[in-house]
C-alpha cells in the first residue's frame, strides 16, 4: 500500500520483508489510531500524510512512510524514481508549485480527519 502511494508501483515480496524488519528495528510495530485507520482505508494515507506534514502530527504513520521510501530508494529496481529530474527552470517552478498545491489540497480534508482520529485515540 505504501509503495503504491509513493510510486504508483507494486512492492516486491523481499521489500515487504525488509519493511517488516525495519518496523521491528525501529520500534514501529505498535498500531496507533491513525495507522489503524490507514490500514482499513488505504486511500486515506495521502490525506493523513499531508496533514501530518503541515501539522507535525501523525509521527508513527509518517515514520512508516519514510521507512518504505528509504527501502525503495536503496533498491536498484526503483532508484530511477529518486534520481534528479532535469527540465527548464520554469517547468521546475511549475512542478514545485503543483506539489505544494497537492499537499495543501489533501490537507484540507486530511487535517480534520486527523484531528478526529487523534481525539478518538485511547
Amino acid at each position: 500500500m505504501l509503495t503504491r502511494y509513493l510510486l504508483d508501483a507494486e512492492c516486491p515480496d523481499e521489500m515487504v520483508d525488509r519493511y517488516v524488519d525495519g518496523c521491528v528495528a525501529r520500534s514501529l510495530t505498535g498500531t496507533d489510531t491513525v495507522t489503524a485507520f490507514v490500514d482499513r482505508h488505504p486511500r486515506s494515507v495521502a490525506l493523513l500524510d499531508a496533514a501530518g506534514a503541515l501539522s507535525g502530527r501523525a509521527g508513527g504513520l509518517r515514520a512508516r512512510i519514510q521507512l518504505m521510501a528509504a527501502i525503495l530508494e536503496t533498491s536498484p529496481r526503483f532508484v530511477a524514481e529518486f534520481f534528479p529530474a532535469a527540465g527548464s527552470r520554469a517547468r521546475a517552478m511549475l512542478r514545485l508549485t503543483a506539489y505544494g498545491l497537492a499537499t495543501a489540497a489533501r490537507t484540507v480534508i486530511g487535517f480534520p480527519l486527523l484531528v478526529v482520529l487523534e481525539r478518538g485515540a485511547p
Binding site: I65, Q66, A86, R89, Y99
Partner: protein, 537 residues
C-alpha cells in the same frame, strides 16, 4: 620494546605526534581502544555513487544499516556524516567514557583513528591574530603545518581564501567542485570587489585529500561516496598513518586499552594505568614521557582523574554551529555533473572588522547533498511524502547545505568537571551556555553570511541550530600559556606541575577561531613531538 614515549590515542593528534617521534628516532608505544568497523567496510563497492545505486541489490545494507540505523528519527542533524559505515567511530564512547549535560551534546571516539575517521578534511591554518593567545607564533607553527601537509596530503587552490589560509608547501592541485558550487563561485567572481569591500570572501577550501598519488593513497576518484567509505584512500584518515607506523620497529600499538590515569615517579618515568575494555584487566605501562592525545574531553578525564581533581571546573571551548539548507535557483531544473566529491565544495568568510584580522570572523562551508539520499529529507519538508519525493527530484541539483561556524572564547558559562561515578572512573559533566552578547553577535554573523549566499543566488530555506556541541570541535580545557598556572600547559604542551606529561590535542588551545581545528591540532602535535624528541636526544 622499551618505549621512550607513550602516546595515548590514535586520532589526528596522537597519530601525527607518534609519526613525528618515530621520524626522529624515538621509540613509541601507542595506547588506544581502537574500535574498528567489522561490518560495512567490505560491503561498499569501489564505484561511483550513481553506478552503485543502479546495480547493487545489497546497497540497503550500508545505506540504511543492518539495523536501519541510517534512517534518522528526527530529520537531518549535524553528524549526518556519521552514516551506518561510520557509526563505529563513536559507538563505544558513551559506554566507556560517559559524559552528562543538559546544555551540550558531546561526540567522542574510541576508534582506531578517532574522530579523524569522519572529519570533513578541511585544512585551515590559524593566523597570527588567531594565535594571539598562544605562547607560540605562526612562524614557529608554519614548518609543522608544512610537515603535516606533506605527511597527510593536502590539495588546494590559490584564490581569495589564500589570504586567510596560505597553501602549505607542496600542496596538490585543488579538488574539482560540483556544478552548483561552480555557478555560485562564478556569481561571486563577477562581483568580488564589492563583496570583498564588505568583508565577504569565497573560495575553494584546502582539503586533506590527495588529488595525486601519495604512496598507496589516491588520487581522488570523485565517486561521491566520501560519507560512506574510503575506497580510494584519498581522504586523510589518521589510521593510514598508524598503519605505516606499525611497519616500524620503533612503534608498538597496544589496542583495547582504555587509559585511566598516569603517575610520575622519582626515577624519571611515567606510568600509565589502563583497563582492557574486553577482559576488564588492569595493566600498567611505563616510559620517560607521556603524550596525551585522547581528544579534548578524553584528555580532560585522564588529567583530572590522575590529579584527583574531581569537582574541579576547567574551561571548555566549542565552535557554535548552525546549518542552513540552500537552493541555488540557477540550478533549478538544471543537470548536475555526476563527477563530484561529497566534502565541502566552497568556503566563505565574513570578516566584519578588518582591524581585528580574522578574529571574530564567521566561516561557512557549502556541501552538496546528493549522496546522503533523499529519504532523510522527506520528513523535513512541509509536503506529503509522495509530493516531497517528487519535489526533491526537482530540487536535488540545486540543493546545498551551508554549515556556519563561529569562533569561541572562554567564559565562566562554559566548563566541564569530572564527577565521581561512572563505575569509579568518573563522569564528565559539561555545562555550556553562550552569553547574550555572543548569541546576538553569532546571529548577526549568520544573517550576514546567509545574505551573502542569497546575493549569490543560493537561497536559504531555514536556519537550523542543532545544539551546543554539534560542531564536534572541542578545545581549551588546559590552555597553553607563556607562564602556565595550575591546570594549564606551557608552550611545549607540558601540563603545569608535571615533569613529562604533554598534551597534544585541542585541550591546549586557548581560543577557537571559526574554522576547523584538526589541521592545527596535527601541526601542534607535530611541533610538541619535535620538542620532546629533541629533549630526549
Amino acid at each position: 620494546m622499551t618505549a621512550d614515549v607513550i602516546v595515548v590515542g590514535s586520532g589526528p593528534a596522537g597519530a601525527n605526534a607518534a609519526a613525528a617521534l618515530v621520524e626522529r628516532g624515538r621509540r613509541v608505544l601507542m595506547l588506544d581502544v581502537g574500535d574498528t568497523d567489522a561490518t560495512y567496510e567490505a560491503l561498499v563497492p569501489a564505484q561511483r555513487f550513481a553506478l552503485i545505486r543502479e546495480w547493487d541489490a545489497g546497497q540497503h545494507r550500508y545505506f540504511l544499516g543492518e539495523r536501519f540505523e541510517g534512517i534518522p528519527d528526527t530529520g537531518v542533524r549535524v553528524g549526518a556524516q556519521l552514516t551506518p559505515p561510520r557509526t563505529y567511530v563513536t559507538a563505544s564512547a558513551a559506554r566507556l567514557t560517559p559524559s552528562q549535560s543538559t546544555t551540550f551534546t558531546a561526540a567522542e571516539s574510541l576508534a582506531l583513528g578517532g574522530l579523524g575517521n569522519a572529519w570533513g578534511a578541511g585544512v585551515f591554518e590559524f593566523d597570527s591574530a588567531e594565535l594571539a593567545d598562544w605562547p607560540v607564533s605562526i612562524t614557529e607553527l608554519r614548518p609543522h603545518y608544512d610537515a603535516v601537509a606533506a605527511r597527510i596530503g593536502v590539495s588546494g587552490a590559490t584564490d581569495d581564501l589564500s589570504r586567510f589560509f596560505p597553501q602549505p608547501a607542496h600542496a596538490m592541485p585543488p579538488l574539482e567542485i560540483d556544478s552548483s558550487a561552480d555557478q555560485i563561485l562564478r556569481a561571486y567572481q563577477a562581483k568580488r570587489e564589492s563583496f570583498n569591500a564588505e568583508g565577504l570572501f569565497l573560495g575553494r577550501p584546502g582539503m586533506a585529500v590527495s588529488t595525486e598519488a601519495l604512496g598507496d593513497r589516491g588520487p581522488h576518484e570523485y565517486r561521491d561516496m566520501d560519507f560512506w567509505a574510503d575506497t580510494d584512500r584519498s581522504v586523510y584518515r589518521p589510521r593510514w598513518t598508524i598503519a605505516e607506523l606499525r611497519r616500524s620497529n620503533a612503534f608498538e600499538y597496544v589496542g583495547r586499552q582504555l587509559v585511566l590515569r598516569f603517575a610520575e615517579h622519582a626515577d624519571g618515568t611515567v606510568t600509565v594505568t589502563t583497563r582492557d575494555v574486553d577482559a576488564g584487566a588492569s595493566r600498567r605501562f611505563s616510559a620517560r614521557v607521556l603524550l596525551l592525545g585522547a581528544g579534548t574531553l578524553g584528555t580532560s578525564r585522564i588529567v583530572l582523574r590522575s590529579l584527583d581533581r574531581f569537582g574541579q571546573r576547567v574551561p571548555l571551548l566549542c565552535n557554535p554551529y548552525t546549518y542552513a539548507p540552500v537552493i541555488n535557483w540557477r540550478m533549478l531544473g538544471g543537470e548536475a555533473r555526476d563527477r563530484r566529491h561529497s566534502l565541502a565544495q566552497l568556503t566563505a568568510i565574513h570578516q566584519p572588522r578588518a582591524e581585528r584580522g580574522s578574529r571574530g570572523s564567521v566561516q561557512a562551508q557549502l556541501f552538496s547533498y546528493r549522496s546522503l539520499l533523499n529519504f532523510r529529507l522527506l520528513r523535513e519538508l512541509p509536503l506529503a511524502q509522495r509530493d516531497g519525493l517528487r519535489a526533491l527530484r526537482v530540487l536535488l541539483p540545486a540543493l546545498g547545505i551551508l554549515g556556519i561556524s563561529h569562533d569561541d572564547s572562554v567564559t565562566s558559562e562554559k566548563y566541564c568537571e569530572l564527577r565521581a561515578g561512572g563505575g569509579g572512573d568518573g563522569c564528565l559533566e559539561i555545562s555550556y551556555r553562550l552569553t547574550g552578547i555572543e548569541t546576538s553577535r553569532n546571529d548577526a554573523g549568520e544573517r550576514a553570511m546567509l545574505g551573502f549566499f542569497r546575493r549569490l543566488g543560493a537561497w536559504p530555506i531555514k536556519r537550523v541550530h542543532p545544539g551546543h556541541g554539534s560542531s564536534i570541535h572541542y578545545a581549551g580545557t588546559f590552555p597553553m600559556r607563556h607562564a602556565p598556572r595550575d591546570l594549564e600547559t606551557g608552550a611545549d604542551g607540558r601540563l603545569a606541575g608535571t615533569r613529562a606529561v604533554h598534551l597534544v590535542d585541542g585541550s591546549t588551545f586557548p581560543y577557537l577561531p571559526a574554522k576547523g581545528l584538526t589541521f592545527t591540532i596535527m601541526a601542534n602535535a607535530n611541533r610538541i613531538a619535535d620538542l620532546v624528541a629533541r629533549r630526549l636526544a
